[in-house]
């Protein structure tokens, strides 16, 4: 199903023409209206008219999250506040928050890309969609809301939290589509079953759109199994627009980027050089149509790769792999770069272990140690010490094979690790490194 078939299936050459035309325009627009961009361009010795092809984008300096914090709150705005109809902000967990303003036109773009995204996963006006992403200055809730509103689906704006109520709403209203973070989806399934005696498979849900945090294929299978639904990956970020930058289609083979609005590049995070197609690196995005706060070559810190070849759904927009990590989530242990997802994958490969774990880094004697706490579950518990010890060794071996560093696995009691209603805290670094 298509929301906007013409643009979603546009021939590649035509798409490139649109992109180039829009890129030239947005570069000129940002240069003229945002002193920050003008200064950066001048420092780099380039002018908007130097951009003659799509490849010329490589001459433009990157924009980083730190740059955005520096101009907090409104320093990147390209229009007066009177033109801004809505303000969103990303969580300021690692410093000052980042603030984004949307013009009326920007909201229309957001509606369009979210409507395409939801339609792509089969949502129609007949559906009842429960939006359990946080509403408010966080973009998750309202982004989905705008998309669903545009399609005409019935929205249950439950927002995040209050787990029991979420399940009651799903049961009583017959919710068919769920939108929330993947870790919260698993928590909902667990809560329904254990605390309320409701088998999540008996709910009317048919599909879900999950994102805003890293997750794995194994988690997808787990969510699909527990709810009896199809689980789709959504990608987006406040700096660009919020959810709706990219989404999976029914093929579930990567996320289609809405390239007529967001121009993607994948670069080597160390050198900043573009990488050949298929190689994993940092995703860099340029907004092609945004008026409130244009973003030129924004470094997302998300690690992914372009998927080559045509998608069976018929869409021509490029696809990216699910996000594999964040450049700033990389844990450096004994000099080796490690991503939490690698550890998660290894745990899940050892059959039967529930995906609840925590990574704890310590440095007891000038040497880093990794402890992985994994929750015991009914399925793998045995009354024999030997069998549990074997399981522990299997986990240690599989993780070591995956990341190349020896780890200690500790099996902890079920439900003893913190459960999240938002983003999961997977890594606890006690090394005291600064």
């Amino acid at each position: 199903m298509f929301w906007n078939k013409e643009i979603e299936t546009i021939p590649e050459e035509k798409l490139k023409d649109i992109q180039l035309e829009r890129l030239k325009k947005v570069v000129q627009y940002a240069y003229e209206r945002v002193p920050y961009y003008r200064k950066k361009f001048e420092e780099a010795g380039i002018k908007p008219e130097d951009i003659k092809t799509l490849e010329d984008i490589k001459y433009i300096p990157f924009t980083s999250k730190a740059d955005l914090r520096e101009v907090y709150p409104f320093g990147m705005f390209a229009v007066p506040l009177s033109e801004i109809v809505e303000i969103h902000s990303s969580s300021g967990t690692t410093g000052k928050p980042v603030v984004m303003g949307y013009t009326r036109e920007d909201i229309e773009v957001w509606k369009e890309v979210m409507a395409r995204s939801l339609t792509m996963m089969g949502v129609t006006k007949e559906d009842i969609i429960q939006i359990a992403y946080g509403y408010g200055v966080f973009t998750g809730g309202l982004g989905f809301h705008y998309g669903a509103l545009t399609i005409g689906a019935t929205i249950v704006p439950s927002s995040a939290g209050n787990t029991r109520r979420q399940i009651e709403l799903m049961r009583d209203f017959g919710t068919t589509v769920l939108a929330c973070t993947p870790s919260y989806a698993l928590y909902l399934a667990e809560y329904a079953k254990d605390e309320m005696g409701i088998d999540p498979r008996t709910l009317k849900l048919k599909a879900g759109s999950f994102g805003a945090e890293m997750w794995t294929e194994e988690m997808r299978r787990e969510i699909e199994k527990r709810f009896g639904i199809k689980a789709y990956n959504v990608y987006g970020l406040t700096e660009i627009i919020g959810p709706g930058v990219a989404h999976e289609c029914e093929a579930q083979e990567g996320l289609h980027i809405w390239e007529d609005h967001f121009l993607p590049e994948i670069i080597d995070p160390e050198t900043g050089e573009p990488l050949p197609e298929g190689e994993r690196g940092e995703l860099v995005l340029t907004t092609l149509t945004k008026k409130g706060v244009p973003m030129i070559r924004f470094r997302t810190r998300d690690i992914t790769a372009f998927i080559s070849g045509k998608c069976s759904c018929g869409r021509t927009s490029r696809r990216i792999e699910r996000i594999r990590g964040r450049t700033d989530d990389m844990i450096k242990v004994r000099g080796v770069m490690i991503f939490p997802y690698q550890i998660e994958k290894a745990i899940l490969e050892v059959q039967g272990v529930e995906p609840h774990y925590q990574i704890i880094l310590t440095r007891p004697h000038y040497l880093d140690e990794i402890e992985i706490q994994v929750e015991m579950s009914k399925e793998i518990f045995s009354d024999e010490v030997r069998k549990i010890e074997e399981l522990k060794k299997r986990l240690e071996k599989r993780i070591e094979e995956t990341i190349g560093v020896r780890v200690k696995v500790t099996l902890v009691e079920s439900k003893s690790l913190p459960r999240s209603e938002g983003k999961a805290k997977r890594v606890i670094d006690k090394r005291g490194l600064k």
């Binding site: 015991m376 009914k378 518990f381 009354d383 099996l411 009691e413 079920s414 439900k415 003893s416």
Partner: protein, 143 residues
């Protein structure tokens, strides 16, 4: 002749054994036999109780991971060599004992032990052939 044993996963953390036993006490469960296998990070609490299903439910409601397994309750002569006689029968037939522990009570003149082997069915046949007393679950629950 098999009886039900309940086992509980415990982290080696202060107070966890107390908490598990406290849950059982509140549920009115009577413990007939108990043992703990422990390692440096975790322990397995194994018990024979008067109502294993109720005990399991009570523990799981409190978030404990539990499992019910089948074991044998064997009556052995309460004198030197009583247990050794039983183990000799198993040893000669190549049956491995996975674990063994004692009941609190006696049954008449016999001491009672909980026994788990790598082949419970064969163990039952052998012990019965040799006239060793095995208690059924009803007897155990009413001790």
């Amino acid at each position: 002749m098999k009886i039900k044993q309940i086992s509980v996963f415990l982290e080696n953390k202060r107070g966890r054994l107390f908490e598990a036993l406290n849950v059982l006490s509140k549920a009115g469960i009577n413990i007939r036999a108990l043992s703990i296998a422990d390692t440096s990070d975790f322990g397995i609490l194994r018990m024979i109780v008067n109502d294993p299903e109720k005990a399991k439910k009570a523990l799981e409601n409190e978030g404990f991971t539990t499992k019910i397994t089948h074991v044998l309750a064997v009556g052995v002569k309460d004198r030197p060599g009583g247990l050794a006689e039983v183990l000799k029968i198993l040893y000669e037939e190549d049956i491995n004992v996975e674990y063994i522990y004692a009941f609190v009570e006696k049954s008449g003149e016999e001491a009672l032990v909980v026994l788990r082997t790598n082949n419970l069915d064969k163990t039952i046949t052998l012990l019965q052939e040799k006239g060793v007393k095995l208690l059924d679950s009803k007897t155990v629950e009413n001790l």
